[in-house]
């Protein structure tokens, strides 16, 4: 058994899982309240990555930062979070709110349209070419240096930062949802929107707040994700799809479920890429085939997810 490879795979799953969990939280909050599969969420995530790129370029780029590279990183994340929160709220206001009482298929198609519009708009303005944050040159490559070593195992700063910031954000979210008034209102709205409205809860405000949180988390996830991969207009699709699946696996509508699902899916993906395709004898490119087949089987047998409750249809 190659323990080094296993360790790297597990570290990989934690990093992947952190990003998925952050995006999945956005899906789950919106779904919990509106029963809407927000297809545009993956593209909000993509725009977060581009906003980060814009801040990085404006402050002199990876090689020649105007001030401390760590401050630049924080600034990138904050700008992306703010921009995506605003974007999420405007999408809700203009594309979903007019359709709130329409049949469920209607806002779903509207969401597809928004997603398509966002990715093509970014391509219109910034081109289809792949860009990178040039992470290797941020802070002179410190991000790739090991933050901790244990025997022959080591874990780089980049991965530590990704996992730690994701966890911090999730703790903040958990606090907001469970310990504040608006969080309580969110939970009430998720359980029964009409009853919540009758209790004096401003539904529009609650929904707006959910999109604000969802957008902010997606923005942060975008910057964290783009530290490790390329940026391109369609980059939001696959992570978006995986994250949505993570939300479904955890039990859509359940916040701890989305976190659990995110890390679970990250692990499945990392393990499939490293091990399963090798065992079955398939090319690595087919890892998506294995993952999606597993997901279909899972959806068939437990559509309500691990922590979710089965939807009871009232007639």
């Amino acid at each position: 058994m190659d323990y080094d490879k296993l360790f790297q795979t597990l570290v990989n799953s934690a990093t992947l899982g952190s990003t998925y969990a952050l995006i999945a939280l956005g899906y789950t909050m919106v779904y919990g309240i509106l029963k809407l599969l927000n297809f545009a969420h993956g593209d909000v995530f993509m725009i977060g990555a581009y906003v980060g790129f814009g801040v990085l370029t404006a402050t002199g780029g990876a090689l020649d930062p105007a001030f401390s590279p760590w401050l630049v990183l924080v600034l990138m994340a904050l700008a992306a979070m703010a921009a995506c929160a605003l974007l999420g709220v405007s999408i809700e206001r203009f594309a979903y709110r007019p359709l709130r009482d329409a049949p469920r298929i209607t806002p779903l198609i509207s969401a597809l349209g928004v997603s398509f519009f966002l990715s093509n708009s970014v391509q219109l303005l910034f081109g289809a070419e792949h860009r990178t944050y040039d992470t290797f040159n941020i802070a002179g490559g410190t991000l790739y240096e090991p933050a901790a070593t244990l025997g022959s195992f080591s874990i780089s700063w980049l991965r530590v930062i990704t996992v730690v910031s994701a966890i911090v954000l999730m703790v903040v979210l958990w606090y907001l949802v469970t310990r504040t008034r608006i969080g309580k209102a969110m939970r009430a709205t998720a359980i029964d929107r009409d009853a919540a409205a009758m209790m004096g809860i401003d539904i529009d405000r609650v929904i707006m707040f959910a999109f604000l949180l969802a957008g902010g988390l997606a923005g942060a996830a975008g910057v964290l994700f783009a530290l490790r991969t390329d940026l391109f207009p369609q980059m939001g699709f696959t992570p978006g799809l995986f994250a949505f699946t993570a939300a479904v696996i955890g039990g859509i509508g359940s916040i701890p479920g989305a976190m659990l699902g995110g890390y679970l899916l990250g692990t499945v993906e990392a393990l499939t890429v490293t091990y399963v395709t090798v065992w079955v004898g398939l090319p690595v490119g087919l890892s998506n085939f294995v993952i999606f087949s597993l997901l279909i089987v899972f959806m068939l047998f437990r559509p309500q997810g691990i922590l979710g409750r089965p939807e009871i249809r009232k007639v």
Binding site: L99, R104, F116, F117, S293, M299, L300
Partner: protein, 475 residues
């Protein structure tokens, strides 16, 4: 924003305005019987290759028919069955790849095309059954996401199909090339005839179109068709009335899949090769936009939507006419949305005046602000150069203008009265600026961005499309 029937009011009374408008607009179309409409369409399409032997025009006609077929097939699952199928394009790709495998040098098979179509029809239906199986347990969004997974599996398989346990099935990213042209028992139909597109393909597509349209029409007016509508409106009630709902869902998937797969074969027979990236989500969204614009659930609507959207998309690609199409579409949108209609003239006149002032002011501040014009400008752009201030190097102004335009457009939907008209003037001027600097130079991206915006717009203003039946939610 669509309003549901008011509480305590009769359903028909609540919808009276809509029904009256529908009859005024479409009264004539409604009175023409279905077969006459189909005949008129077929004659019109069949006449095009006789009138012109322009290869480009004929190939556009062929592609339009392909999209008509795709929209008709999607209408079965989405419009009649009420099942949101996001894996639809996988069936189209499956048909194209099956054609490529069965009639090319890849495996040395050269089956005659009608035989391939029959094989694809059967295999497509079986694949439809398979992908439709989750519909027994899942509904709504969950079903949509599982079909999207099925699509991902398809893409993953064809992209990596050059090494499936040592067998090269699909050629991976390079696809399969050198496909046989369409042939009917040895009588081959070369793709190009004397160097231009062979217009006979239009007739092949037309025959398939009529067959599919007729067959689907008959099914829709049979027991199965009525059962599908019952299923769509209320699955539980349909089940309690003794309908085999599981079986009906599978049938809806299978019919849609067969149509898409046959269309894929037809499409492949004309192309040099099949490649994974042809079967993208862009294609899926395009077909959805067609069906939704035309009217979900209506066969005429599906065809109308396909023709309108495809011709619109093609026109945007052509620099000579794209400007006209864009400005015409803007004026039409204003006519549809603004009341009273004469306000459109006022707004347009104000925009023209505003434009000349803005152009003069910009020119007075700095010569270079109005110096720019796209190098390969069409006639419209040249005419507008005296009116739209295009800087010599727009550069950073482009993203800012684009984002501000979207923000302004969104705000105009919220404000009312005089403020809306006042806001429309700079918005329209900015739209002209953005069109000339950002949109017109990149037609291939623009058309899809506009398609996305169109989808949202239709959903909000008229979710039942041009010809679709407005569904009544039973609360």
């Amino acid at each position: 924003m669509s309003e549901g029937p008011a509480i305590g009011r009769d359903e028909w009374v609540a919808r009276a305005d809509e029904i009256i408008e529908r009859h005024r607009l479409l009264g004539l179309a409604d009175r023409v019987p279905g077969w006459a409409r189909l005949l008129a369409f077929v004659v019109a399409v069949a006449a095009i290759p006789l009138i012109t032997d322009d290869g480009y025009v004929n190939s556009v006609v062929f592609d339009t028919l392909v999209f008509c077929l795709l929209a008709l097939g999607l209408n079965v699952a989405v419009g009649w069955g009420g099942l949101l199928d996001l894996g639809y394009i996988a069936f189209f790709g499956f048909g194209a790849y099956t054609y490529a495998i069965l009639s090319s040098d890849k495996f040395g098979l050269h089956l005659t095309s009608p035989l391939v179509l029959v094989i694809v029809l059967v295999l497509g239906a079986l694949l439809g059954f398979l992908v439709g199986l989750p519909s027994w347990r899942l509904v709504g969004d969950y079903l949509a996401i599982v079909t999207l997974f099925a699509y991902q599996i398809f893409i993953s398989l064809v992209t990596n199909g050059h090494d499936l346990f040592g067998v090269d099935l699909t050629g991976g990213v390079n696809g399969i090339s050198d496909l046989d042209p369409f042939d009917v028992f040895g009588f081959e139909l070369p793709v190009s005839h004397r160097g231009i597109f062979n217009s006979n393909y239009v007739y092949v597509a037309l025959v398939l179109f009529v067959a599919v349209f007729g067959a689907l029409h008959l099914i829709n007016h049979s027991r199965i068709g009525r059962a599908w509508r019952a299923l769509r409106e209320d699955t539980l009630a349909a089940e309690l009335m003794g309908m085999p709902t599981d079986w009906l869902k599978l049938l809806a998937f299978a019919f849609g899949a067969s149509v898409a797969a046959m269309t894929g074969s037809l499409f492949a027979s004309l192309k040099i090769g099949v490649f994974p990236e042809t079967f993208s989500l862009t294609l899926l969204i395009t077909v959805y936009a067609m069906l939704i614009l035309g009217g979900v659930g209506s066969q005429t609507g599906a065809v109308l939507g396909a023709v309108v959207v495809y011709v619109f998309l093609e026109a945007l690609r052509n620099a000579d006419v794209s400007g006209w199409v864009f400005y015409l579409a803007v004026v039409l949108a204003l006519l549809y949305l603004l009341r009273p209609r004469w306000m459109v003239a006022v707004v347009l006149a104000a925009t023209v005046a505003f434009g000349f002032v803005a152009h003069a002011v910009a020119g007075a501040i700095d010569e270079s602000w109005t110096a720019g014009a796209p190098p390969d400008a069409g006639a419209v752009t040249r005419a507008l150069d005296v009116w739209v201030a295009i800087p010599a190097s727009p550069g950073d102004a482009k993203p800012v203008a684009y984002v501000v335009l979207i923000a302004l457009l969104l705000v105009t939907t919220v404000v009312t009265g005089v403020r809306r008209y006042a806001l429309l003037v700079p918005t329209l001027y900015l739209a002209a600026f953005v069109w000339e600097t950002v949109l017109a130079p990149q037609p291939d991206v623009t058309r899809f961005a506009l398609l996305g915006a169109l989808l949202v717009g239709i959903m909000i203003t008229r979710p039942w499309g041009i010809l679709g039946e407005r569904r009544v939610e039973i609360v």
